[in-house]
Symmetry: C2
DNA sequence: CATATTTGACTGTAAAGTCAGTCAATTCTA
DNA sequence: TAGAATTGACTGACTTTACAGTCAAATATG
């Protein structure tokens, strides 16, 4: 029923290694990835419980049974999709954390930009939406996502705020205790996009810039129609 | 499978009108409400698609067929739950909007308080979570919720910010264009509660207070352990 | 007792996951 | 290098499970 058009897959498409005639294993791996991609589309369109794996198989140009060669069952598919999509993000977070000290504002900008280029304009936005919408029923996934993504992100944000306050770049509010306030709008955007963007789209670039202004207590004049 | 303990039902429980021997119609209406309440619990626990209406019936102390006396089908149940829960909130929003001009801060506090007393400590938190998690698959519901709740809330918030800026209570940022930024943490809390509170609970009172500080650019000292 | 209400066994549908068989790719061998 | 032998990736019909929604029968009510 539902028909979600996924956009570009996760950003860096690895260069195809010439025309080497694909050996079986390689071909198989390629199909496995196709199944994961289509699985994401189907889960996103119909929801975890309502999605039909048969459907996914067909759309991936593969027979039903093929799916079970790589995956134990529907839940396993879900987990592989989430893990596969989030692992690169985790690495990136790590890398940002190791960056030489940046001004609060700059780090924030960098993080938001990362979010835009690696999540919003990527199939990952659907993965995150899935985690948010289906995670309640999958404690395993929720736990994984909290441990590997959310808590690291929060730590990074907290560090940034604390440091910014010490440098007098940020007003000393309780914000340092609630880095949640920094990412809440990002999460909201992901949800909004699925729910309401048809009725009232959001200009995410401007929203994030307004958000930065607000966070930093910057009275910089806004420019808007 | 899932077993969610719903808390108190929507806040004001109307006083039982003495011991008037319940007439049939009244009894029927009472059961209808029980079915809605249990329906909410079951949808919340298992998700819309996976929930078993039979289950709901049993838990409501009623036979399966009984459900279909009031409801066309599973989707109808979902819609009735959402509409029934949100209508009172809409009225309250209306009432707040008509309030004599309050200081920006005060109105914000009032709204957050409304959210806490009418949503967070109420079964409505589950309704909202359902809208957020399942709404993607129910354009009808998403549309209803956007039209009746979200857009009104946003208008109210926007008005408040604009007025606050005019009165020099709020720094003139783009915040006025993105009232979304004001409610994002509320939505996040509802989601967080379902997903991550087991690993890392949030003190919502403090979070909202920090949020107010941040929004108003108030450098008021924070107090935290 | 007539009627309104409720029940729960039943029917039909639908999809999940299995597995015996097929066949293309690969390896072996003369 | 051709042709035979082997492998194992892939298929899809089949079995099973399970629940939605119906409706004839049973029960409660006034």
């Amino acid at each position: 029923m539902g028909n979600i058009q996924l956009g570009s897959p996760f950003v860096p498409i690895r260069p195809v290694p010439a025309k080497t005639p694909l050996r079986r294993q390689e071909a198989s791996e390629e199909r496995r990835e196709a199944i994961l991609a289509v699985g994401l589309a189907v889960f996103s369109a119909d929801g975890f419980a309502a999605a039909k794996l048969d459907d996914a198989a067909t759309k991936a140009g593969v027979a039903k049974g093929r799916i079970y060669l790589h995956l134990k069952d529907r839940q396993d598919l879900f987990e592989q999709i989430v893990r596969g999509a989030m692992e690169p993000i985790i690495e990136q977070l790590e890398r940002v954390a190791e960056l030489p000290d940046l001004p609060t504002d700059a780090l924030l900008a960098k993080l938001f930009e990362l979010f835009q280029s690696q999540v919003l304009t990527t199939d990952r936005r659907f993965v995150i939406r899935l985690v948010l919408t289906e995670g309640v029923h999958f404690p395993e996934i929720a736990s994984f996502y909290h441990r590997e993504v959310v808590s690291r992100g929060l730590a990074l944000l907290k560090m940034n705020t604390t440091r910014g306050t010490a440098r007098d770049e940020v007003a000393p509010t309780d914000l340092a205790y609630f880095p949640h306030l920094v990412f809440a709008p990002l999460a909201m955007d992901v949800m909004w996009d699925g729910l309401f963007s048809a009725f009232e789209p959001i200009d995410i670039g401007r929203l994030l810039s307004a958000h930065r202004q607000t966070l930093l207590g910057n009275a910089g004049r806004g420019s808007n129609a």
